[in-house]
Amino acid sequence: MDLSGIALGLETALQPENILICLLGVTLGTAVGVLPGIGPTATVALLLPITFSFDPIASLIMLAGIYYGAQYGGSTTAILINLPGESSSAVTALDGHQMAKQGRAGPALATAAIGSFVAGTVATVLVAVFAPQLVSVALEFGSAEYFSLVVLGLIVSISLASGSTVKALAMIVLGLLLGTVGQDLFGVGTPRFTFGVRELYGGIDFVSIAVGLFGLAEIMRNLEHRHRSGSLMTKKIEGLWLSRDDARRITWPVLRGTALGSVLGVLPGGGHVLASFTSYSMEKRLSKHPEKFGKGAIEGVAGPESANNAAAQTSFIPLLSLGLPTHPVMALLIGAFIIQGIQPGPNVINTDPELFWGLIASFWIGNLMLVVLNLPLIGLWVKLISVPYDVLFPAIIAFACVGTYSIGLNPWDIFMIAIIGVLGYALIRWRCEPVPLLFGFVLAPILEDNLRRAMIISRGDPSTFVTRPLSGVLLGLAAVVLVLSVLPAIRRKRETVFTEDE
């Protein structure tokens, strides 16, 4: 392991202002993440604009902090009121909420925090070890390999998602098309699909896409139903500490969950969701009392929470080394990198070593802060959970508008929220998943630039993508994954993975 890198990272992350920024990120992330119905992706999308006022390192450290905070906040909401913000914390809700009903909310929350911390610590080390190694592979990549890698990433991301494969593919292509809006910077700067609107020359801002899909469209979906309002909390939370018996029972589930999540987190698409579901069924199978699962088994909180958090952490490996997002939040982070003027990919470790290592070191510090911060502040989070939805969603709208506007002072970024929000709502209603669209949008420029560059290098011969060995292997893998995900037998298996124990 490259110790000088770690040392540089700790030096960067331990600067007082960066510690403060990390703390601020974790706190804000938790505060927004505990709000019912707001998952980590929506939290990061809503808080993105706030981070842009800081310098690149601080802003990315803050974003990473927001992400963990949001994850933990989501688990808190899942445990206390059984309203998981996203599918990965749905598993936590199964036994976590049962524990809360039995008056054991304290131990459930403590288990989530400790499990997340252990998983985060292990996975941070894995990121520090494996990201630089993957970088050295990625540095050998030419344009053809990059193109094929992006294709593979996009295909794998839909193979794990639930629902129709064809629709998911169509959503990716739609995302890619939306990504071509604006000036064609590879060529002579021809404005594309801008309808003569100068404000669109820079393209659609990805914050508008994120806020439209995960803010506006999501609220419209929620307004289809009447919402419960007022306080949903039933019992007071007391006794945050684990008994010796609890500690013994969670040890192995935490470690197994960490191992499982670390591996699955690297997979594009739904690695973290898969990790928490798989960990839950594994713990149930290994348990001597499987009948207790679903009725408040502490192992059912410890395993999935650790798996989820480990996966959240290791999904930074492909992001930092290849510039490839494997999780919707990572796609948002790519956008954040680009706004800060940094092209995410294998060059970051050499051009911005402080950023690369500082970010990794701050992962661990952020995880530590979560434990230190969240258990004492639980009373505050409980108050936030009780905010009624009728107040919450106007706040989301107001924040989304001001935040997005503050990035470029461009009213068209706001209009785009409305357009994307309505389009997203319609498509989600027609059972298309929004996440592939986001992936496609973020990766569109990388895909197009590398395609065009590779074609120039190969003198217009498209066979370059298959004859260059590495590129050929990547495309072959993509084809295999695509075929497998369309085959009915695999599809059925995949559905059971996602519906099991729900």
């Binding site: 098309l177 307004l223 969603f393 709208i397 027609w430 074609m455």
Partner: protein
Amino acid sequence: MTDTDTGARRAARADLCAGGAFVALGGAFAIGALTYDLGTALRMGPGYVPLTLGCALAALGALVLGHGVLVALGHRTVEQESLAPEDEAGPVPWHRGGLLVAAVVVFGFTVDGLGIGVAIFVAAFLAALAGHRNSALKALVVAAGLTVLCLVVFVALLQLRLPLLGEWLGG
């Protein structure tokens, strides 16, 4: 049995609408792309990639449409998951959704002219009106509170350079 029937009908409608939307959007992008220089495979112009992608989207949309037709005619059974109860969508909230979109659009139109404070207030008020339990009075209170909150966070704490008074007000 009726549950499965309505489930199938809903799945068919979802496919038909989504497929139609993909065909329309893909076609629109492809036609738009034709107005730009296509270039050659060696030196692709600005229209090359969007044209390819637009055609691909239209083709995928046609597949989705075809699947929807098969389901509607009863030739194809619906996958189990599309019948899952949690997928149950309520009626489209035209009125409330319209208010939300109006809130966002009004913000976009007024923020330069009237300044950030007024724009937030109007947007938050319109959005709050969409709530299931919010009266006009309650919406006013919520909007006022949110305006203060946003001003404190974005202007006082983050010190972002936002237009406090719009150009229509001489700001």
